[in-house]
Subunit: 109 residues, 2 copies
């Protein structure tokens, strides 16, 4: 295929631009996918499911919270601290858009 | 959902581990998707479709070639150098596996 034919793939260029880097990063994709699927997950579950250290998971959760994609609620269960994470509406919309852009990239042509 | 229920999502953990970082990186995902869809693309087409600098595209093409995912053929068209890029069988298999792992991650639950 030559350069002149680039115009045949306009949806791809758009999808490529739209691919949300906040979600695309592997760990954050894992977090968001888990939260969308389960509706809620605690810190320990995310850590074990994704095989992450406390620090690594915390870093990515903080970034997702700053972007408004997740809500983090800290509480106590008896004497033990408990961290519950849920996706926000903004996060759900962003995830849907991400999946849509990804499908357009992968299934282009 | 609590930690005890982690066992309900075994396919997710596996898919997460399998997600090929060589392909997942955004630029390389763009390159591989384009090559799989078009079967062949020249340097200029990839550069313009993905909106990359020569240096950035070259870096990612070199890495994909080192991994055996693509074949790069340099030639001349008249006096102009021409670089043709095609996916290898290894690259096609890796791409299929990547897409499969991605689908399992995104559609988990």
């Amino acid at each position: 295929m030559t350069t002149e034919e680039t115009a045949r793939t306009p949806s791809f260029s758009g999808a490529f631009e739209e691919l949300d880097e906040t979600i695309h990063q592997k760990v954050r994709l894992g977090i968001m996918s888990t939260l969308i699927a389960l509706k809620e997950a605690d810190f320990k579950l995310l850590k074990e499911t994704l095989g992450l250290s406390d620090g690594n998971l915390s870093t990515h959760l903080t970034l997702l919270e700053e972007r408004g994609y997740i809500h983090i609620q800290k509480s106590f269960r008896g004497r033990k601290p408990h961290t519950s994470v849920t996706p926000t509406d903004t996060g759900r919309v962003a995830f849907d858009r991400y999946v849509s852009a990804l499908e357009r990239i992968i299934k282009q042509s």
